[in-house]
């Protein structure tokens, strides 16, 4: 008998996604936004579902179970309780929540039927169980503690659990409205960034600041116990009864109103960012310790949006609290799709779980999305009449790309299956030489059209990571921040920056190491180690760059512009290439040079296409 197919789906809140497993093996996973080109798309993921069926090449009738990552009845219960607690205030958020729950979540069976063309058995998996399953089952551990932290699921905002073999048990939870994720989001919004997308910016901003508000946060906003449990003082927040997240009392505490989006970022906001980052790290370290204590495990797995806080993750790794540490690369709600499917397989159908024998995880590098063959790429380029050079030989192609990078060119790379999760890992990436002092500003301002302060991540050959970073072992998913090694650092005094009224450009352009473009102002870097088994093309480019320059490190940032979902198809990639100052584009085994392309008829109007995050 063939293995059962299980489709997992998340969505109707933010970051809709679908994932497909066969037995316990992950076949495919993708976020809806990559197909619809609407960032964080919350709509039912019909396109992602279609892709999953496409990847497995199966009919909907072959799906044994469809698993949804949320329990709508419990979500309804939470919304009703929330309204009861704040009524008569909070009518508008309540009405919006009811519309989503009653019109969409309670009718999700109909959406499945429309996407599949037929009804299939539907299971509901609780939100945090989905996260927990996404963290534990693909991990390389036979048993591990599980920590899930996000904004809110049905009731839970945080859980600690234990996974062993195919079993998962949740041992402890913190319930809404007490939420570390919502605290971080509230401060994100206070600093003028968008909730559920701007949290990364806040984290990137933090190293520029000093955590001078951390004490106030711990004294007033969130009361933290030694075991990591916490309670928010709700009088400082507005998320229970308003569309905004922070309240007047919080603004008074910090002595300033919320920052308006796109206005100047000054030292105050940097200090707020540094403070909430420090508070988060304090809590996450306590939670990691508590998870170890509760489970007796030296392995820790994590998921939930807060698990994308790679600075906190790096601190947990270096804390000595854990021996083994694995974070679901799609830690946010998208990963809930995968978790729901895996939970249905192991806990529902009781399918056995096998940890990969090679010591690596079962996520397959998170390259779980669509690929486009060389024939498809060439069909597109030929149809449109775009100039390209076809270089089927990988070594020859990689050498050509390395040469372009060494010449200071910014390169767009589309290679193999798209990544599942918010990070580009060499399948849909923009690459650049990290050795240039101006490269961070250049890529931020002229390629990504985003804020100049945002740091770039390094991708490094997996066996050379120790030459540049204080990191032992692998970090294939760019989820760990590690210090750059002292011997490659160059003196840089943040006091000058603070005296200079926080003009970020000089600070960003200041050489802080021999790899300035990937060294953040606190000498940290969000590292990706690249293994040839995971992404052979990307590994070959790094190796070729190393052979040419002696540097096995490249800037690796997501292939998109600000507000745009990461590119998916060759068409998306070409469009992004032509709209930005990316100079060379690699589409599978074809290389395109900007100078050889027909003149683009796009004007700047396209920038309105993507809502700024």
């Amino acid at each position: 008998m063939s293995e059962p197919y299980i489709l997992g789906v998340s969505g109707l809140y933010h970051d809709s996604a679908a994932a497909l497993i066969s037995g316990a093996e992950i076949v495919a996973a993708a976020q809806e936004e990559r197909f619809t080109r609407k960032k964080h798309d919350r709509r039912f993921p019909a396109n992602a579902i279609n892709y999953c069926l496409s990847e497995a090449f199966i009919e909907p009738s072959q799906l044994d179970i469809v698993a949804y990552y949320d329990n709508p009845a419990l979500t309804l219960d939470r919304a009703l309780r929330n309204f009861a607690a704040v009524a008569p205030r909070g009518r508008e958020p309540f009405k919006a929540a009811m519309r989503s729950i009653l019109d969409e979540k309670f009718r999700i069976e109909k959406s499945f039927e429309a996407a599949l063309g037929e009804a299939r058995p539907l299971w509901y998996v609780d939100h945090h169980l989905s996260h927990a399953a996404s963290a534990f089952y693909p991990s390389p551990f036979e048993e591990a503690a599980i920590l899930t932290v996000d904004g809110v699921g049905e009731h839970a905002t945080l859980t600690i659990g234990h996974g062993k073999g195919r079993d998962i048990e949740l041992l402890r939870e913190i319930r809404y409205p007490h939420s570390l994720g919502l605290l971080y989001s509230a401060i994100t919004q206070y600093c003028g960034f968008k909730v559920n997308s701007g949290e990364y910016k806040l984290m990137g901003l933090a190293p520029y600041g000093e955590p001078r508000f951390a004490r106030a946060m711990l004294d007033h906003l969130i009361h933290v116990k030694d075991d990591g449990s916490f309670a928010l003082d709700l009088s400082y927040f507005a998320f229970m009864d308003e569309a905004v997240m922070s309240g007047p009392k919080l603004h008074a505490l910090f002595g300033a109103p919320p920052r308006t989006a796109e206005s100047r970022i000054d030292l105050f906001h940097m200090d707020i960012a540094a403070s909430v980052q420090q508070v988060t790290e304090i809590i996450m370290l306590k939670l990691a310790a508590e998870a170890a204590r509760l489970t007796g495990s030296r392995n820790l797995t994590m998921a939930g949006g807060v698990a994308l806080n790679c600075v906190a993750n790096g601190k947990i790794l270096r804390s000595g609290l854990v021996d083994g540490f694995w974070i679901q690369p799609a830690a946010g709600d998208a990963g809930g799709a995968l978790g729901a499917a895996l939970y249905a397989a192991h806990m529902g159908l009781e399918l056995p779980r096998q940890v990969p024998a090679n010591g690596r995880d079962a996520q397959r590098g998170s390259y779980l999305g669509p690929a486009y063959s060389s024939a498809q790429v060439r069909a597109f380029l030929d149809r449109e009449g775009y100039a390209y050079t076809h270089i089927p030989d990988r070594a020859e192609r990689s050498a050509a790309v390395a040469k372009a990078l060494d010449a200071g060119k910014v390169v767009g790379l589309l290679s193999g299956r798209m990544e599942f999760g918010p990070r580009s890992l060499g399948a849909r990436s923009i690459l650049a030489d990290p050795r240039g002092a101006q490269m961070q500003s250049k890529v931020n301002l002229k390629v990504k059209y985003r804020e100049s302060f945002r740091p770039f991540a390094p991708a490094v050959l997996h066996d050379r990571v120790g030459d540049y970073f204080e990191l032992e072992g692998e970090s294939p998913y760019m989820l760990l921040v590690a210090p750059v090694r002292e011997d490659i650092r160059q003196p840089f005094d943040m006091a000058d920056f603070r005296k200079g009224v926080a003009d970020m450009i000089p600070a960003v352009n200041k050489v802080r190491s021999t790899l300035p473009a990937i060294t953040h102002v606190d000498y940290s870097a969000r590292v990706q180690t690249v293994h040839p088994d995971d992404q052979p093309d990307f590994h070959a480019i790094l190796a070729a760059f190393d052979a040419l320059t002696g540097c096995p490190v490249l800037v690796n940032t997501s292939f998109n512009v600000r507000g745009e979902p990461i590119v998916n198809t060759p068409e998306d990639a070409y469009r992004c290439f032509m709209r930005t100052e990316i100079e060379t584009l690699v589409l599978e085994d074809c290389i395109l040079e900007k100078a050889e392309q027909p003149v683009s008829e796009d004007d700047d109007a396209w920038k309105q296409e993507f809502e700024l995050d």
Binding site: N47, F57, I58, A115, G117, E118, A379, D382
Partner: protein
């Protein structure tokens, strides 16, 4: 989704090779797989083969738009006639002129026992066209060039050879360019379809979709006849000619007599083995026949493909048995 098709200088376009995708549709979707040549065939095709083979040529009704590989009439034949292999060379949106070029490019001289030429009845409009409309990436209508023949005296002369690669917009399309817009009265049909009154209007007006068959001297029929006779003359194997009726014929809102007469005459003239499936389809009651096409799409449903296969088997079965018993 990235396009399913690639440019072909001889045919105009064909599927990208080695595709393995699910195409989403308003009815859900269907699985589409192509072989190395770029046809919806689960098998690879080599010119030389020791297997007994049937080669099938046609348009989207043969390629199987909206229906998964495995559920098309060629797939049913493949299963029913095993170990005989049935190779599908169908190409959506194409005409009989392009089918003859496909045969010439990929299957001429190939080992096979039977060739099936499936002619959707409305192909008669496609063969006189130099362009086919298509929806561009931005949703606008653009026109794709195709190869086509013209009869000069009794000689077939090929045009658009090679086929221009560039797509043409409505504004730049020459006024006199021949475009297949899918039938007569395109604007009126569009309006009626939008209003959901297509069936009613067709019945009330006794709409005859393909008047080109009414008169054997009609230029379009003369061209169709010439293309098929020329093609037939180059095929050494037995050739089954199968006119695929339009849904109006299957649902008896249009009179099939004219096209049936033309293909019947042609079969006698050109040594085709005529297989006309209409009578077999009409043997089903009206509700079943309505189920041979999709609710919002005229293509054959899996049930429609099954019915065509069952019908065609009546001709192919004895033909293959006869071929085997030949010394």
């Amino acid at each position: 989704m990235s396009s399913l098709f690639q440019y072909d200088p001889d045919i105009g376009y064909r599927f990208v090779p080695h595709l393995k995708v699910r195409v989403a549709t308003s009815d859900g979707g269907y699985l589409l797989r192509t072989n190395a040549l770029g046809f919806r065939n689960d098998r690879e095709f080599e010119t030389r083969s020791s297997a007994r083979r049937i080669l099938v040529f046609g348009d989207s009704f043969t390629a199987g738009d909206n229906v998964s590989n495995g559920q098309r009439y060629s797939d049913h034949l493949d299963q029913a006639l095993a170990p005989v292999e049935v190779h599908n060379f169908g190409l959506p949106g194409s005409g009989t002129d392009q089918h003859s070029i496909i045969w010439n490019k990929f299957a001429k001289g190939a080992d096979a026992e039977v060739v099936v030429i499936a002619v959707l009845v409305e192909n008669i409009r496609r063969i006189v066209s130099a362009y086919r409309p298509s929806v561009g990436d931005d949703g606008s209508t653009e026109f794709i060039a195709k190869p086509y023949f013209q009869l000069q005296g009794e000689t077939l002369v090929r045009f658009n050879d090679p086929v221009p690669r560039e797509r043409v917009t409505g504004e730049t399309l020459e006024a006199e360019a021949k475009v297949d817009r899918g039938g007569r009265f395109p604007e009126l049909r569009k309006l009626v379809k939008t209003l959901g009154l297509q069936g009613v209007v067709q019945q009330l007006t006794r709409y005859q979709p393909t008047p080109e068959y009414d008169d054997p001297r009609d230029p379009a029929w003369r061209l169709m006849r010439a293309i098929l006779l020329s093609w037939r003359s180059q095929i050494p194997q037995p050739v089954v000619l199968m006119p695929i009726p339009l849904y109006q014929h299957v649902e008896q809102t249009a009179d099939p007599a004219a096209y049936r007469a033309r293909f019947s005459e042609l079969a006698a003239e050109g040594a085709f083995i005529l297989h006309d499936p209409l009578d077999d389809l009409l043997a089903n009651d009206a509700q079943i026949r309505r189920g041979f096409r999709f609710k919002t799409d005229v293509h054959l449903t899996p049930a429609g493909h099954r019915a065509i296969a069952d019908s065609l088997l009546r001709t192919l079965g004895p033909l293959l048995a006869g071929a085997r018993s030949d010394p």
